[in-house]
């Protein structure tokens, strides 16, 4: 092991795209967790970037902790098995089990195993990095794709105008679904607020039981903005209220960043090619949904 990566969990030389939001999310989350972890990586951009095809032959592995990839939808169940296995062997103490998946791997195909693991009360932290579509396969819509966003499978044409939700809603609300499981800790985070993210991960690491952290991680390629603007886009999502930073600790909601002057969502949408078809009426509809969500969270 190189001396320069002694205290890091994710080091340089990984194969994520330039300007990748998701790898930045993992860099902060994993480094905050430290080295006493075992990670399960669901099939995803991050799995490919960390242990994909080019990585094996020469062992160019960017983590300094053990990790396993099994399949796309397995994360919750595999960490459940690890939890049971380590318990049975008397080796459970001092190890945090981490399941990492993207939004598709979490909200769509992997929801069942995640729900099962949460319901059974296994001891693990689940990290969902959310780039709002299946980016590994080239930008297909997922359960967390934002209303009206154009993806390759929710394109804009004569009859359809990007991602449709009936009835209209922003996206599938994964943190709320996880909170409904009654688990001890649920949090949202953003790559634009690394201190907040790190704090939440560390808090989760010190707890037991199922813990869920959902990190908003823009994708330059999929969303259509310059790769230098990844962090800026994540910040705009929070500042316009399209993404809210909060935690639910043992059932108690705490909004960790109360945006004082919420910007109109138009500022956020206008910078992304996936929304370039959007009309004022559609922007108004999204704005309304954001306002509603804020009300639900007890904000202005």
């Amino acid at each position: 092991m190189s001396s320069s990566c002694e205290d890091k969990v994710l080091v340089a030389g990984h194969r994520a795209c330039p300007g990748c939001g998701a790898i930045l999310a993992l860099r902060h989350a994993l480094n905050a967790l430290g080295k006493n972890v075992i990670v399960h990586l669901a099939t995803s951009c991050m799995e490919v970037s960390i242990m994909g095809g080019g990585v094996f032959p020469r062992g160019e592995y960017p983590l300094t902790v053990p990790s396993l990839h099994t399949a796309f939808e397995t994360g919750g169940a595999v960490v459940s098995g690890m939890d049971a296995g380590l318990r049975a062997l008397g080796k459970r103490e001092g190890v945090n089990l981490i399941a990492i998946a993207g939004d598709g791997g979490t909200a769509d195909i992997g929801l069942q195993t995640l729900s099962g693991a949460a319901e059974r009360g296994h001891d693990f932290i689940y990290i969902c990095y959310d780039n709002e579509a299946y980016m590994n396969t080239g930008n297909q819509r997922s359960g967390t794709t934002m209303l009206f966003a154009a993806t390759t499978t929710s394109p804009v044409g004569k009859k359809k105008r990007g991602e449709q939700h009936i009835p209209a809603r922003l996206r599938k609300d994964m943190p709320a679904i996880m909170a409904a499981h009654g688990i001890p800790y649920v949090a949202t985070a953003s790559i634009a607020y690394p201190a907040d993210l790190t704090k939440k991960v560390k808090k989760a690491a010190a707890m037991h039981g199922p813990r869920y952290i959902h990190i908003h991680s823009p994708c330059a390629t999929g969303w259509g903005f310059p790769e230098s603007k990844t962090v800026e886009m994540a910040r705009l999502a929070v500042q316009t209220g399209a993404w809210v930073l909060y935690e639910i600790e043992n059932g108690k909601l705490n909004v960790t960043l109360k945006v004082a002057q919420r910007k109109p969502v138009k500022e956020y949408l206008a910078q992304q090619k996936r929304f370039r078809h959007i009309t004022d009426a559609e922007i108004a509809q999204i704005q309304e949904l954001i306002d509603k969500k804020w009300k639900e969270l007890g904000l202005q």
């Binding site: 080019g54 399949a71 397995t74 459940s80 049971a84 190890v95």
Partner: protein, 395 residues
């Protein structure tokens, strides 16, 4: 005790660390017994009832990858649901043992015995062993852990027992002494430098991508491990025989030595067929024998050739269908024979589908047809559907 009870007793004797499963008929009582053993403290293990068979196999992979000895059981739709992960378990070289209470696959829906479920996993890299009695079920599970965990094999194993016909049949079973089993089967000790083992002290990335330049080589390694497993199956079976007085072999050639015709099959059909063969020899003087294929993966090519070399006809009776071909087991036998200089005429027989009983009279028909083929040098039909109601479907 029932076949399912025998399996559960074996899992207890193997002192597994984790059992993860999902209920499905007729497997359910296996995991009920195991849950009971764990609840009573008779077995010191973790029981994890997953949210699906898919989750169960995922959890087995998770548990095995941190070094636990792991067992699961399923069949039919459950086994089909595990399909994706079965390949992953084999590819990660995790020595998981699974009991499969063989049951048909829907549609049509039914809960009765045939082998189509396990046939779907034929090429997954798992070893498959088919048993014919409750005693053999118990003994084979214990053997399976020892074989699976061997460094030269490191592949998961399915122990297949006919759903209901064996899983729910009660008969006398000798349960070996725990200490003797412990001596035969020590705890699983994975090698962190060789096995898939996730340990914070020895960080490892497992299950990642592999470019085309290497994938074939890893698959070759699995193929080689299955070949090596044949030797190990013999060795472990022999050691088991020494320790417990019972031995089974990769195949059992029952009265095949002087047989003109032989019937090859897997599972409980074999047991009934042995009885029928005795009777036909005694009453009619027919020289018939039965070849039990105990190990299906790896396929015991040498043993099959040796047992059938002198026979005039070989009827391969299969409880599963390969559409467009006949039966999967027939393909295996025919492939095995392809380079033999002298070979029997082969009959491709499908029987016992969807729980249809294979009675003594049915087996007699198979021997009759095989004798006729031996005499005439021709088979009556390319694929024989034994007991098919022709008044409904013609044929």
């Amino acid at each position: 005790m029932s076949g399912n009870r025998a399996i559960a007793e074996a899992v207890k004797l193997a002192q597994v660390n984790v059992v993860s499963a999902y209920p499905i008929t007729p497997q359910t009582s296996i995991v009920e017994y195991l849950s009971e053993f764990i609840a009573n403290g008779e077995l010191d293990a973790q029981f994890l009832q997953a949210e699906s068979e898919f989750g169960a196999m995922s959890a087995c992979i998770g548990a095995s990858s941190v070094g636990a000895r792991v067992f699961t059981a399923t069949c039919s739709q459950g086994l089909a649901l595990m399909h994706e992960l079965n390949y992953v378990a084999a590819g990660l070289r995790l020595p998981i043992v699974m009991a499969v209470t063989n049951r048909q696959l829907s549609q049509p829906l039914g809960m009765w015995c045939d082998h189509s479920d396990a046939m779907g996993e034929r090429d997954s890299g798992w070893l498959q062993i088919y048993v014919e009695s409750c005693q053999e079920a118990l003994d084979t599970v214990i053997q399976a852990f020892k074989i699976a965990e061997n460094r030269d094999v490191l592949l998961p194993i399915m122990v297949c027992l006919d759903g209901f016909i064996l899983s729910h049949t009660s008969e006398a079973v000798d349960v070996p002494d725990q200490k003797a089993v412990r001596a035969f089967l020590p705890p699983y000790k994975p090698d962190a430098d060789y096995n898939t083992l996730l340990d914070v002290k020895k960080p490892l990335a497992a299950g990642g991508g592999c470019p085309p330049g290497y994938t074939m080589e890893f698959d070759y390694k699995k193929y080689e491990a299955q070949e090596k497993a044949k030797e190990l199956l013999r060795k472990v079976d022999g050691e088991f025989g020494e320790a417990f007085g019972r031995q089974y072999g990769l195949v059992e050639a029952y009265r095949c030595d002087d047989a003109d015709v032989i019937m090859a099959a897997m599972g409980t059909i074999v047991s009934t067929a042995k009885d029928v063969a005795d009777k036909l020899r005694e009453e009619k003087g027919w020289r018939v024998g039965v070849l039990k294929l105990r190990s299906y993966r790896p396929f015991p090519k040498q043993e099959v050739l040796k047992a059938t070399a002198h026979a005039k006809a070989l009827a391969v009776v299969s409880r599963a269908i390969s559409y467009g071909v006949g039966a999967p087991v027939f393909s295996d036998v025919a492939a095995t024979m392809s380079h033999a200089s002298k070979k029997p005429i082969l009959l491709n027989v499908i029987a016992g589908i969807g729980g249809r009983d294979v009675a003594q009279k049915d087996i007699t028909v198979v021997f009759e047809k095989a004798l006729k083929a031996a005499e005439t040098g021709k088979v009556e039909s390319e694929v024989e559907w034994l007991g098919l109601n022709k008044s409904l479907v013609g044929g």
